[in-house]
Symmetry: C2
Subunit: 353 residues, 2 copies
DNA sequence: ATGCAGTTTGACAGCGTTGTCATTTTAACT
DNA sequence: AGTTAAAATGACAACGCTGTCAAACTGCAT
């Protein structure tokens, strides 16, 4: 039942070490030997024992995915992207949901790394933005990849970091550009008074998206107004509250469009609009951000900015693997900057006259 | 930096084996010795090496969670429930999304088990219902827990199984009772023509929910009508299609309520109703199933059957752990049958007159 | 043929824990 | 105090693999 590397070695008439070389795709194995061993592996249906490999080897065959995100769709996409890569590389994935606020956060992560001897970590926002965690990882000498919001290498979360760090440890999502684009879409529809319902203040993406929105207004000679910005969180409930607050005494401002910080906020705004008997998009345009499945399941469907989370996380995993163990083939196809693109659906329309 | 069991042993003045006994909570360790060792563990901040434990021990400190479910909320809840238990027991969780249709499914799972030497598996529907997978696991001698839809020990998925199997390997969700209850809720609101939009046929839960619905109708002397049953899948899109199909020529039947197979289907039905200008709940009542966050983010909010997935999966993990390694304390608080309870929100109302 | 550098292979000792079994200590009796 | 069974502890060999380093083999120029 249980086939060890030794069995394979005997079967193929080589040493254990050679079998090891083959399954680890190490160079300097003759093609003939390689085939011989592979055949034995097939015939015996050999499965390398992860525990033994982890113990004997320098680093282990497991990476971690750390997140603090209430959005199920986001998390699942992240997992699947990383998992697909792990499968290919023969790595295990240790998932670790956690609470970014927790002051013992980095201790908890350190413990996890030590116990499982993780080869690396993929960090999603907002944890990827926390300096104390990065410092801890650096001091531990663990490889990691940070998913960051920002315009490529200029991201504020990387201030004071070397170019080398930025290039090797970060994947960027250009929320600024996406927000700019989506705001411009609204402006072109004739909207002049556009509100913004923000997500969590501690997420860098909130700042980036807000900045993109503001720059778009500025570039089109529209006045910025603090009163049109609602500071909330990345949740449906916050979207409801935000829309209510913004539209409460709308006579003064005549808001004709609301930009949601993400799809959940936009869905919440949609919900609030119904409560207030406001027709979407006739009286008010609403747009989301992220293009989660959610945005297709509201009424009307949400205009949003498409963000391919599973692709992004897959590239994060690639980047991580390029730094671990083998580094066999240099993976040159890694994309490090993603810019979400606007998807126009039914929740936005021409500004009412 | 790296603290081994040997360091702790020296520090505490005992043998490695004794330290091992302490961290594994084995009996027959004097209280005094226990404290002594624990202190050393604290002082040195010792973290047992998972790989070594997995290799040396009989079974490993990792369990697997296998699922094939497109519903992100469901998956996340399942993960979190199992994870919370794993954390407490010091186990790792290996997640494994897969495709139930895949004919090589059980091979893939077998490979995963062998590679990671998993101590056990938690299986969610529909994989928990596939006999070939169960057989494979039995032959491998791996512990597992099946999440099943059905009335406790009478579940059809367990036909031909011993009582012992049913009690030790299964967690039941009584979808039948829940569907009965929710149908009754509609009947009490005066509805006489209630349609049912089914989920995937291969899911046992579909059959169970359908049966509960039918029995409720029967018990209240309402006629069953095949035409009122739409066979679809557990998706939003299917809900849209289902509602459209059911309501297309509604003059013949005068459907006043639709029972969705789950929340997504119900949300889809809601969406379709909007398309057809049908007021919810004034002209048509719609109810969901599962009480995912989703059901609170539609307009109007969905009446549904609350199913505490994270609690359910936590108990599944408990049951699994009661069969592995330690089995230390007999966990007597494991709940093996859950019955979802009706949550009334705004999508259901009195039948129109 | 001979030598030499480069390539390919193998022997063997760990990696950090737990299982087995022997040994020592304790408690509970005469 | 002396005996005995039970409880607590320890010594040591695995577990299945990889890292290290030495040995054997290659091809190629002499």
């Amino acid at each position: 039942m249980k086939v060890t590397i030794n069995d394979v070695a005997k079967h193929a008439g080589v040493s254990m070490k050679t079998v090891s070389r083959v399954i680890n795709k190490e160079p300097s194995v003759r093609k003939k030997t390689y085939d011989l061993v592979m055949q034995a592996v097939e015939e015996l249906n050999y499965q390398p024992n992860t525990a033994a490999r982890n113990l004997a080897g320098t680093s282990s065959f497991a990476i971690g995915l750390v997140y603090d995100n209430p959005n199920a769709y986001y998390v699942i996409d992240m997992q699947n992207g990383v998992l697909s890569r792990c499968k290919e590389e023969g790595y295990e994935l240790v998932i670790h949901p956690c609470c970014a606020q927790d002051p013992d956060m980095h201790k908890e992560i350190a413990t996890m790394i030590q116990r499982s001897r993780l080869a690396g970590l993929v960090l999603t926002p907002p944890l990827s933005e926390q300096q104390d965690i990065i410092d801890m990882l650096d001091s531990l000498g663990v490889a990691y990849v940070r998913l960051l919001s920002g315009q490529s290498h200029a991201s504020a979360a990387c201030e004071g970091k070397t170019e080398e760090h930025k290039a090797n440890n970060c994947i960027y999502v250009d929320d600024y550009a996406a927000a700019y684009e989506i705001t411009e879409h609204l402006i072109k529809l004739g909207h002049k008074t556009i509100a913004f319902a923000c997500g969590d203040a501690e997420h860098k993406s909130t700042t980036e998206r807000l900045a993109g929105y503001q720059q778009a207004l500025k570039d089109h000679d529209l006045t910025l107004n603090e009163d049109l910005i609602y500071e909330g969180t990345y949740s449906f409930e916050s979207g409801v509250e935000g829309a209510k607050a913004l539209l409460k005494n709308n006579n003064a401002y005549k808001i004709t469009a609301i930009l949601g910080g993400n799809d959940e906020i936009a869905a919440g705004a949609l919900f609030a609009s119904r409560l207030m008997n406001i027709a979407i998009p006739e009286q008010l345009s609403i747009s989301g951000f992220e293009d989660s499945p959610f945005s297709r399941q509201t009424w009307p469907k949400l205009t949003t900015a498409h963000q391919a989370n599973s692709v992004i996380s897959e590239h994060a995993a690639r980047l991580l693997f390029s730094k671990t163990r083998g580094s066999r083939k240099q993976d040159k196809d890694i994309i490090t900057t993603f810019t979400p693109s606007v998807v126009v659906r039914e929740s936005t329309g021409p500004a009412p006259v």
